[in-house]
């Protein structure tokens, strides 16, 4: 099939370009035949291979998803079932599924808007946790005594569930908005601190020696040695942190109310809209997955040198 890869390529451009301006039909048809032949070049073979690879990763989850939906449908397809079946959800919560960004009224908006509101809170809380966590982790990782003194405290505090922080934070801030942000912050900050500290402690002596010989000042040392060297650890912490803050947002919004996706679930439960809850859960899952992958991707780009050292 690929017997003459050289000739059509040589012929094709000259034959194709001349009639391209809209000349006789027969000529353009001729070029089309040639173009088909060049389509079997190694380039298209590679495209085909990547397509096949993509199918191999996409098709199995889709098949499993279909199977699970089928089982679910069969299990709940009775009039007296306590949970809605997929088909029932599709009809009952159709507007929520097909149009994420509708606005019917102040409290009747699409789930996309609600997710965005929640994401905004997470952005504040997690952003704060990332900055504070990295700086605090760097300080703790630098000093043996700070590590000894603070590590047990961090280890205890990080096991406190997000919801348990809420009363204290409500009492401290006297407002639900900052309270929710604080709960996200306090949930996400511990893994960032701990991982950063471990990363800083694991900076090889070689790099420290290089920094000493070059006489880097503390700020240069922080940016040019510490952060890049500890980056793989820091991003591990950030990835755990973003997962935790997404867990915390739902909990926090259930109690603080407002527009977020967490409050939507609570509200739907109070008015027995089970189908809406299921749709919201899917939204939360997908957004959480995307957030995790996003941080992982940023981490991979940022640490492309360090990881392969």
């Amino acid at each position: 099939m690929n017997a003459m890869p050289g000739r059509p390529v040589l012929v094709d451009p000259s034959a194709g370009r001349v009639p391209a301006g809209g000349a006789a039909r027969t000529k353009s048809q001729e070029t089309k035949v040639v173009a088909l032949r060049t389509a079997r070049s190694p380039l298209s073979a590679r495209a085909l291979a990547t397509l096949r690879e993509a199918a191999a990763t996409v098709v199995p989850p889709l098949v499993m998803l279909a199977a699970l939906l089928l089982i679910w449908q069969l299990a709940t397809d009775k009039p007296d079932a306590s949970l809605p079946s997929p088909l029932k959800i599709w009809t009952e919560a159709n507007d929520l599924i097909v149009s994420p960004f509708f606005v019917y009224g102040p409290q009747d908006i699409g789930l996309g808007w609600r997710v965005l509101t929640s994401l905004e809170r997470v952005a504040y809380g997690f952003g704060l946790a990332a900055i504070v966590g990295i700086v605090l982790g760097a300080v703790v990782g630098q000093s043996v005594w700070a590590m000894r003194g603070l590590d047990p405290i961090f280890q205890v505090l990080r096991t406190v569930p997000p919801l348990a922080w809420l009363p204290i934070s409500l009492a401290a801030f006297r407002d639900s908005g900052p309270s929710a942000v604080f709960v996200i912050f306090i949930t996400a900050v511990w893994p960032v601190i701990i991982n950063t500290a471990v990363g800083i402690r694991n900076i090889p002596q070689d790099y420290r020696n290089v920094a000493e010989v070059l006489r880097l000042n503390p700020l240069e040392y922080f940016w040019r040695i510490m952060i890049p060297s500890a980056a793989p650890y820091i991003f591990t912490g950030l990835r755990i942190g973003i997962g935790l803050s997404w867990l915390a947002i739902v909990a926090a919004e259930m109690l603080t109310g407002g527009v977020g996706i967490g409050f939507f679930i609570w509200d739907a439960w109070n008015s027995s809209r089970l189908s809406d809850i299921v749709v919201a859960l899917v939204y939360i899952g997908v957004v959480g997955f995307v957030l995790d992958r996003l941080v992982a991707l940023v981490g991979r780009i940022a640490t492309r040198g360090t990881a392969s050292a």
Binding site: Y207, N209, V210, V213, T306
Partner: protein
């Protein structure tokens, strides 16, 4: 060489180093005195664990002497600095920077105030060319071979225009062929720039080939300078011609006898 007649450039005066850990004290080096002239190439050789690297770290300022003093141009050395650039045994390139950036960070730090941006760029490239690494300037350390990494490490050290170039077993982790290439490179660079250099090694041939003097260390703990050998071979030196040179053979024999007759390393057996 006339340099040897000049007044001492780098002096070690009665240097003693004790490491203490948890109440236990180990004397690593004792009573090390050495004068090194400007432009001289000195090798320090000894069995492993004799404190060679500690000695180099003392000159680099990475560790402090317990008693005694290290003087560079009559000023005491008590902290690291770019005028005593170190070529580390395992290259110690920063893996997140490219080859160019690894040298540039040193150039920026040392010449940030004295050279313009364009000059620093040119100086970085010049030093990479000196070690024949200009072609790989945009690669990251993970993408180049061990010998190439060590070349970049040497370029980084040279780019600081050090008064003393300190090399800690610079070719220890390389295969024999690459090692020979790099030794020739270092000889050429030394001939061209006339740096003062101290090299730690455990390779007798390498020490004789490169050095003006070889400092032989006794076994630790409490290692001291056993003997100092003047190599006295004319430069430029050619490794092939030297193989049959009587002075080369004599120098080699002297070092070997020191290491394996008088100061055999018992634990290594």
């Amino acid at each position: 060489m006339t340099a040897q007649l000049a007044k001492p450039f780098l002096q070690l005066q009665g240097v003693r180093k004790v490491f203490s850990r948890g109440g236990m004290e180990t004397e690593v080096l004792t009573d090390i005195s050495l004068d090194i002239a400007e432009g001289e190439f000195v090798s320090i050789i000894g069995h492993s664990g004799c404190g060679k690297s500690t000695l180099l770290n003392l000159v680099a300022g990475l560790t402090r002497v317990t008693t005694g003093a290290v003087l560079l141009e009559n000023r005491e050395v008590n902290e690291p600095g770019p005028e005593r650039a170190v070529v580390f045994q395992n290259h110690s390139l920063l893996p997140w920077l490219t080859v160019y950036e690894n040298v540039r960070i040193a150039v920026d730090k040392v010449f940030g105030r004295t050279k313009s941006r364009a000059d620093r760029h040119a100086w970085t490239l010049h030093n990479l060319d000196l070690v024949q690494m200009g072609h790989a300037k945009d690669k990251r350390p993970a993408e180049i071979s061990g010998g190439m990494k060590q070349r970049v490490g040497i370029a980084r050290a040279l780019a600081m225009e050090p008064k003393v170039l300190l090399m800690d077993e610079p070719f220890g982790a390389l295969d024999a062929l690459t090692r020979a290439h790099l030794q020739d490179s270092v000889m050429q660079i030394h001939a061209r720039l006339g740096n003062t250099a101290i090299m730690i090694t455990h390779d007798v041939d390498e020490a004789v080939l490169l050095s003006d003097r070889i400092v032989m260390m006794t076994n630790g703990p409490s290692a001291r300078v056993g003997e100092v050998l003047e190599v006295g071979l004319p430069r430029p030196r050619n490794r092939l011609e030297l193989v049959s040179d009587a002075r080369y053979i004599h120098a080699r024999e002297a070092v070997l006898k020191f290491l394996y007759e008088r100061h055999r390393f018992v634990e290594a057996a």
